[in-house]
Structure formats: structure tokens, C-alpha cells
Symmetry: D2
Subunit: 337 residues, 4 copies
């Protein structure tokens, strides 16, 4: 049994807690810490058997019975909390991104390397655990499509964020496309060597005024010579559009969107199925449980997780390369970053 | 907050317990009773905060703090436990079937009618709460297909039960098609007036030797004059095949199967998607949580559930009419039963 | 090169003529006869190289250079023209039905058997040559679904015929379901032993007043013990709905409707594809060319066609059995007819 | 009635002849010319009523009864034959490309502008007339997806051409992607302003040795600010993969591949549909008839065709821009060409 402490009791912290309670039988949540915890969350936490519901995360780091922590605090605390947890000898599951600064992530990486105890450090790129993307990855690993020659990711949010958020988001590549850049690496099993990003502001002028774009394409060259494209949009009126396609020497694998139901209605207006799920938490709910189950399994068996510190670091470099490419309107090699 | 006791800690009892813990915030499981409870189930129950984990269900019926019980014991105890729970003034969620005997269900019905306190009595026809069938029903209620003229249900299990089970199952109509007969009523919003059942033993000769069939069709006449067909099979090698179609004056609504993922693989062998989910608990998992949420809501708001004692009674009559029709090779009116 | 004469220059006669001109290189249309031929049809026929464009079909039957005739005259002349063509030693492709009377078809059958020259006699059940149904049949013949256990045909016209036509049509079973009854035999490779038909008048009261029904279901027992259902409707507002499904011990094969294009539109209203093709001639156009190509090939190679006199005869018996079953509300064995 | 002469009796010339015979009633093929005509083609041409079957195309250009010519000769004769036909006052349908040289196309353009008689000049970009792409274009014109923000074209051949052909093909952009570049313009209704092309040789090393690539991506900026990507491959083992997607402010429209049938087979191996059609002539057959029908209609009504000399010219410029971009590894503006 792995004893777990969760730092941060907001939306994602609660998601992880429920995942463990119902689907990770070999983990036990011993403590939940949040300085701003809502009373109803605290009450619920106690009702489901969490013993230590507290404000100060140090209670978790100092508890010798706790093996692992889930860092679900605000993004700007991820790196610092990671460093403290590593120092306390805890295995760490850290929500993404670790930080927007390469230097800070390097610091965490160094701390991990220096730790006398081998620690599991997993980053919350949950989409790698999504049922559709896992099935695609598995088909590719099983050789079903042969050598990868081309990857495509289409990634469209249902609604743009407020312009105020855009200003502090790090930009569309850092905030949104980072998942898709990681997905190209995950699905292809290849590294990205060079990329060319294009962008336009076609949805909300306020996004442009905040210095960002809302519609992008990225062309990528992979380490095995394959090519890839990513297209992204901040607003698809029909829902959260999340599709990928990997083409190779023996075939092609792609996925369709998930929807609330599989019904189809035929009328004089056409043959109509349901729209994609709207809300990312609903669309990717299964992946949140799967990634935590994987984390606990890594802790128990001393395995490396699918998404470690290096993946977290690379995703930031790729996002920065995109920004640079868009600004300079030229292809950028990742080793320039 | 509705206080709940669960009688029976087997597979379905655990399913309902987890549903309540994670998705029914206005219910609290106060007690779980089973004379043959496994130690690991008892340990888990305690770890998630269930106070009274016991062997004797009388502890539940006698607990004045408990508002409602979920009857998840073996089928032959459903009617008796229902009567005792009603006598104890508890709201009841009873797994299906209430009983295979019409007389016993009539007894429960009479007890409910005689109860001085108005009690909610819901029967576990979970498929009515399935995301696909609910969406179909909603489209029909919203008038999207106009007047219902034809209903079709295709229902195929992935594997036949052992012949030993077949012998005590009450036959394919009582054991399996009962869900589909209920589904025709649910989707159409009509009553069944007459039916004609055909059957054959094409899958496992042992099923025939046990006096049953494994492949069936049922033709039905509905109260508004519409027609319906049901086809059933004990074995679809590609998985649990659960599809329906309702056709009307303004259109047609149908559903597709659920599968593990939505990926599609194109190779020299064709363009291949995943098989339907194999296991009924996996396929209908969402419906179990939805039906319990509905039950708690009915208890809180004094509403009648979608599936009450009358639906439970009718399903048995319909199954018996099918058996009679098959035996006598003629259409049978439901009012003959 | 097979020399062909076409008797009847109406819609279907022209369809067959165009099929031969563009897709049957080993046949030459030598003559086209119709007492009521439109001038523009005659002009077109001459412009595409048909030498003898005439009013009297005897010119075709008496022409010793003509090997084969296509009978595309009105239905009530099919049997008589068949007898005359057989007497003239011509191979015959006859539009369906040969006749509504079993006795008349038996007469044609006897004439064929008595012919000193072995003649090809093909009946125009074009759906057997449809790309979708052929592909289904091929999958079944190739053993892809194992032993056939269940067949389903759904057959819905886009619009009901005028009540005036209904009165002389022979009824929905003879006029419309006859194709679907043939399709059960074709797809399953089995004979029909017994059937039970139900019907209702739900679409147009005038159809009921004409003594017919517009919504039907048929349950069938096949010679290998398998079961089948057919559902039919005179009016599907979304188009011509033509689907089938065959289920067996190793799998299931089904088809989807054809539509004008394969585009899919995602908007706030849903994810919408095109409706099925509306017009039967458009939906089944490919099958008309395929059946004529098959006929010419049979003539050239002395082969028996897929759909011969026996199939034409059986289809009438099956339609009559349906009418009897509906009238008497009981299952009817085909050998009762 | 428009009198037509066809220059070139090879594969595509025969396709157009059959299209006119069966589907373009207001056109009459008066002459067919080819210096290397096969005897069986000549025999067939006469049998379907073509009066002048000859070797020398001057017989067509000099025939005052002929209104329009279809240029189906080898590519290197397209420009010269266009000039002669224009000089003879004939309307011209010219197979694509007009020429690989911009100068030669400009010469044809100048001749057209100088013609005293207003002549229709249509280029054979048949895909614009394909049922799927037309339906997509219509949805966009009807405002179904709002303002275009992103276009994607995926274009994969089933088999690479022989390396010998590659060497004289003008390269993958000129030979293959030229259709897809035109499709971006057609679907979006926008002009292409700038593009960035990437390429790799992943399929056949002989293609690389011939100085070409076999796998490409192109990123494009359109005149309204929208973005687009094209991905192309010389070899998709599962067939001819031809898909597009246009995304806008109100929705998204995409198409699926066409296949031989719409059947779906469910077995232990999955749920499998048919592969895309393999052969481009089969896949796009309907578009060949539609484009010729359009041409005749333009001639009769003095309309401009959908695909004129300017479109033919632009397609060459775009292909050249792609080659330049790939070579220099930088984005290239079209006005650089």
C-alpha cells in the first residue's frame, strides 16, 4: 500500500483524490493540504476516510509514513514544491507544466539526479493515458502501421480563454499546444529536430492585442526523417476537437472524438450524431485515473514513468521554439533553444 | 443527505457503493451487510468511511437513521427482502428481477400500496439510464422522430452462460430478453399488446438439452399500433452487441455500440475499428451510477422513479408471454398472461 | 458479340440500353421496340448506333441475328412476352415480377424446360447485383461470419405510392417486400420454411382504405434453422433506407446506406452526414449495369444466372404467404402455398 | 446541340467520350482523332455513332461544324494544341497541366485574350467536380462553417510511380500536389499568399536518387489570413487516400474516402470496413462526367468555367513555389515566382 499526500485541494486535486479512492486500490490518501481549502471539500475529505485534512503542506512533507505526493498547487509553485518534496525523499507526481522557465526545470532535474534515494518523478501529461491516444500508441508499438512517416494532430478548444488569462498564459504554444507537441513525440516515438510555426489572430481581436495568436499550424521534422503537422484553434463552436493521425509504411491509425452518446438521428435535415464532449475534464476524465494508477505502480515497482522530468523539460523547449519560429518566420531547430 | 444501507456486498453491491462514494454527493452509505462478506471487501468498506460493516441485514432494517436500502442480495431473496424493508418503512432500490413469480411481485406491490408512508420503490433496470438509450429516449420525447411506428432491439451477449446456469435461469426470455422487452416499452413510450416469439438452438446443444433456446426473435404490437422486433443471441464472438433503433413519422434514431477507444486502423486488410466492449459491467457502468443517483433524487424529492414496481411486474409478464408464444408457435396477447 | 433486342423503351428500357452502350462491350443493341416510343428516345437511340428502332416487338423476335431479348414492357405482358421469346429461341432477361400468378410463371418454367435449345432466363432482381449486397454475400460465402444464425433486412421507401396505385399493386408484400424476401434467401443462402407477417396502416389512411398496410414486419425460419426478420415502411422522411445485417457463428456483416457524398459537417447543431439517396434508380444504378453484364456473360458462356425462373417463382410464393399470415394472424409454412 | 471533337483517344479521351455519350445529352461527338489510335477503339467509336474517326487532329480543327475540342493528347502537346484550337475559333477543354512552363501558359492566356470570339477555356482539374469536394464547397458557400480559418488536405497515392517517370514528372509538387494546391484555393475561396514546404524520401530510395521526395507537408497562408496544411505521400498501402477538412468560425466540414461498398464486418479481429478505392479513375469517375457536362454548359450559355486559364497558371506557380521553399528551407511568397 502506497501512502499518498495531496498538495492542493482545488479542481484537479479533487479529481486525483476521487481517482485513488475508487480505482487505485493499492494507494491510500493519508493527507490533503491546502491553505485555502473550502469547508465542503474538507468535510467530504473526512467523510471518505482521509485522516489528515490540513492547511500546511509541510505536514505532508514531514510525515514519514507518506511515500508519495501529488503536487496540485498553482503552477508557479510546482518547481519549488518539487524541490522540497525531493529533499524530503518523496516520490512526486507534478501537474504540468513544471515551470515555464527552463532553468527552474533544470534545477528540479539536478535535484532528482542528486537524490540519494531513487525517486519517481511523473509529470501530468494526462493525454498520454487517454484511451484513444493509448490505443493509437499501442497500435504503433505493435508494428501495425510500420515505420512512422507522418503525424498529424488537430487540437481545438471549445472556447477561447479570457484575454486577461492570455496575457499571463505564456502564449498559445506554452499554454495549449504544449500537449500536442508532447503528443507528436509520444505517438511517433521520435524526437523533434526542427519546426516551423505559423499563427494568426482570427477569433478574438483581444487575444491579438494581448500579443498572442489564436489559430496556429506547426510543421515538424522528426529524428527518423518523418514529418508532422499540428493545427490548433482556440475556438471550435461544435466542441472540444481532439484528433490525431499517424501514417506509416504499413498503414494509418487515427482517432475520432468522444461524445456524450453514440446515437444517430436521421431526419429531413440529415443524419446527425452528437458533438464532441465540450469540457476537457469530462473528455479526459479516464486519463486522470490512468495516470495516477501508473504513478502508484511506478512507485511500487521502482519503474520509470512514461512521462518524466525530461519530457516536461522538452515540452517547454518545443513551445519556446514555436514562439521563436512564429516571431522570426523561419524554421527553428530545437537545438537552438 | 440520504442515509443508505446496502444489503449484499457482492459484485453489484460494490458497484453501487463506489457509485455513491464518488458520484452521489447527497447520499451517505451508513451500513453494508452480507453474511458472506469477503475480508478484503470489509476492509475496503471501512477504509472509505462506511461505519457499520456487518453480516446481518436486520441491523440495516432496524437502524432508524437509515432512509433507504439497496437490495443486492441473490435474486431469490429480492421479494422477501423487499417486503421486510417496506415493513421497516425504508425506501427500496431492488436489483432485477424482483421475482420470477407474478404472485410474489403482486405481494410486494400490495405491501407498497398498503404502506402508511409513501415509499420509493425502484427496480434495477439499469439500461434505462445508459447514456445511449437515454439520449434515444430524449430525442423521441423531444419529438425528433414524430410518431413512433417501429422499434428494433438487437441484443447479443458475448458468451453463453454455462448450461447448468441455463437450467435455473428461467430461460432466455426471463434471463436475458427481459431487458430488451423493457427497452421496447421505455423507448417507444407504449405498452406491448401482443407478441410472437421464435427461437432456435444454434450455438450450444447443451442449452437445447437444458430445454432452452439461444437464438430468438420477437415481433411485437404496441398500444399505438406500432410494430417492433427484438433479436437476441447468446453469443456474438465480436463482443457485447447492444443496439436499438426507433423509427417514426419524422425520422429515425439509433445507437452504435460503445468500445474501448475510437481509433481506426487502415491497412491492407481494411479499415478497422474496435470491437464493442465485452463485459456488461464495463459497457453499462455509467448507467449504474445514474440509476442510483436517480433513486436518491426520488427519495429526496418524493418523486416516482422511472422504473417502478409496475415495470418490474410487466417485464415478467412479457417474458412469460414469449415463452408461451414459442411453445405454442402462435401470437400471444399480453392479457392472456 | 451478343446481339440484343430490347422490348420496351420506357425508363428501365433506357437504363438497360445505356448500361450496355457504356459498360458491356461484348453486347450490341441491334433493335429497340416500343409501340409508344417517344420521338426523343427514338432519336437518341439512332444517334448512339441502334439500327432498328421500331414499334413492333415481333421485329425483334423474328430477327435471326438477335440472340437475346430484354423484356422491359409493362408487368402484365412479362409472362406472355417470355413465352413468345422462348418459342423464338431467344435468351431472356425479364424484368420482375414475371407475373403475380403462380400458374403463369409455372407456364413459363415449363416452356423453358421444354425448349430444345438451352436458354438463359434471368429475372430482374437487381438488388442481388448491388455493390453493398454483393459484398455482404461475398463475405458470407468466404466464411467470414461462419454459419448464418440470423438475418435482418430493413427496407423503407422515401414516399408511399398513390393510393390508386396501391389498389392494383398486389399489396405491399407483392409490390415492395418481394425484393427483401428475395434478399433473405440471397444473403443467407438458405430457403425460407415458415414466416409470420404483421402489418399496420400508420402512414396514409388511404392505403388502409385500399385494403393494404404501409408498415410491416416479417419473422422467418430458414432451412438451416436460422431466424430472420424484415421490417418495411412505405415512408422514411430521410430517404430510401436500405440496410441489411447477417449474423453468424464467427461474426456479423451489415451495410450502411449510400449517399450523395461522404461529407460530414460539425456545427453547434451536431455532426451531420448526408441523407441516404432518395431515388431507387439512383441508389441502385450500379446494379442495373451489373445484372445486364451478368446476363450477357451467362449467354456467352452457357452459365445459369444468379436469379432464374425458380427464384422468380419463389418470390411470389413468399409474398402470398405473407399476405395469408397477416390475414390469419398466424405463422404460415411456405409449403402451404 | 454542341458538336465536339476529341483530340487523343487514349485512356482519358475514352473516358470523356463515354461521359458525353451517356450523360451529356446536349453534346454530340462528331470526331475523334489520334495518330496512334488502337483498332478496337476505332471500331468502338464507330459503333457508338462517331462519324469521323481519324488520325489527324487538323480534321477536327478545320471542321466548321465543330464548336468545341477536348485536348486529351500527351501533356507536352497541350499548349501547342490549345493555341491552334484558339486560332481555329474552337472552345477548348484542356487536360491538366496546360504546361509546366509559365511562359507557355502565358502565351495561351494571351491568345485567348486576343481572340475576336469569346472562347470558353476549361482546364481539367476534375477534382473540383468530385461529389465530395463539391458538397464541401457548397456547404462553405452556403455559410455553414462561417469564415474559413483553416484548411487541411491529405493526399496519398496508393503506389509510387516508377523512378523513371519521377525523373520527367516535374517533381512531386508539379506532378501530384498540384491538385491539392488547387483544392485549397477551391475549398477556401481564397488565394495563397505564402507557403512553406517540407519533404523527405521515406518510401523509395530510387525517388530520392531521381532528385525528388515522396513525403511532403506544405503550410500555407491565405489571403484572408487563414492557414492551411497539405500532407502528401506517394504510397498509402491501404489505397488512394483523399481527404480534406475546412474549419471556420461556425463549424467544420470534412469528407471521408469512397470505397467499393459500405459493408462493415464484425469479427474477433475488429469492426472492419472497406479500404478506399485504389484507382484514381475509379475514385474520381463521376467528376470526369461532371466536368465535361459543365464545359458543354459553359459553351452553350457563354459562361466562364469554374477552372479557367488563370487557375491553370496559378497551379504551376504554386508548385514552383513549393519546390523553391523545399530547396531553400524557408517560407516563400507566391509573388516571388
Amino acid at each position: 500500500m502506497v501512502n499518498v499526500g495531496i498538495i492542493g485541494a482545488g479542481r484537479i486535486g479533487q479529481v486525483h483524490a476521487k481517482s485513488i479512492l475508487t480505482g487505485v486500490p493499492d494507494a491510500k490518501i493519508v493527507a490533503l493540504a491546502d491553505p485555502y481549502m473550502k469547508p465542503e471539500v474538507a468535510a467530504w475529505a473526512k467523510s471518505v476516510g482521509i485522516e489528515n485534512v490540513c492547511a500546511d503542506y509541510h505536514e505532508i512533507l514531514n510525515d514519514p509514513h507518506i511515500d508519495a505526493v501529488l503536487i496540485c498547487a498553482p503552477t508557479d509553485q510546482h518547481a519549488q514544491l518539487s524541490l522540497e518534496a525531493i529533499a524530503a525523499g518523496k516520490h512526486v507526481f507534478c501537474e504540468k507544466p513544471i515551470d515555464q522557465s527552463i532553468a527552474k526545470i533544470e534545477e528540479v532535474k539536478a535535484a532528482l539526479a542528486a537524490s540519494p534515494k531513487k525517486l519517481v518523478y511523473q509529470v501530468g501529461f494526462n493525454r498520454r493515458y487517454d484511451h484513444n491516444y493509448r490505443a493509437m500508441r499501442k497500435a504503433i508499438e505493435d508494428g501495425k502501421i510500420g515505420e512512422v512517416q507522418f503525424v498529424r494532430i488537430s487540437s481545438r478548444d471549445p472556447e477561447p480563454p479570457p484575454a486577461k488569462y492570455v496575457a499571463v498564459s505564456g502564449g498559445i504554444f506554452m499554454d495549449m499546444m504544449i500537449h500536442d507537441l508532447d503528443m507528436v513525440r509520444y505517438l511517433s516515438g521520435q524526437e523533434i529536430v526542427e519546426l516551423y510555426a505559423q499563427g494568426a489572430c482570427l477569433i478574438d481581436p483581444a487575444i491579438g492585442e494581448a500579443g498572442d495568436v489564436d489559430t496556429v499550424t506547426i510543421t515538424l521534422k522528426l529524428s527518423n526523417g518523418a514529418l508532422a503537422t499540428i493545427d490548433g484553434s482556440r475556438k471550435a463552436v461544435y466542441g472540444y476537437d481532439q484528433r490525431g493521425e499517424v501514417f506509416g509504411s504499413k498503414g494509418c491509425v487515427m482517432n475520432a472524438n468522444d461524445s456524450e452518446s453514440n446515437i444517430v438521428l436521421s431526419t429531413v435535415d440529415g443524419v446527425t450524431g452528437e458533438k464532441p464532449l465540450w469540457f476537457f475534464l469530462e473528455r479526459y476524465m479516464g486519463s486522470y485515473q490512468a495516470e495516477v494508477r501508473e504513478f502508484i505502480d511506478c512507485v511500487k515497482n521502482g519503474r520509470d514513468p512514461w512521462v518524466g522530468i525530461e519530457d516536461g523539460l522538452l515540452s517547454i523547449k518545443l513551445a519556446l521554439a514555436c514562439s521563436k519560429s512564429l516571431k522570426e518566420n523561419r524554421p527553428v531547430r530545437i537545438d537552438e533553444i
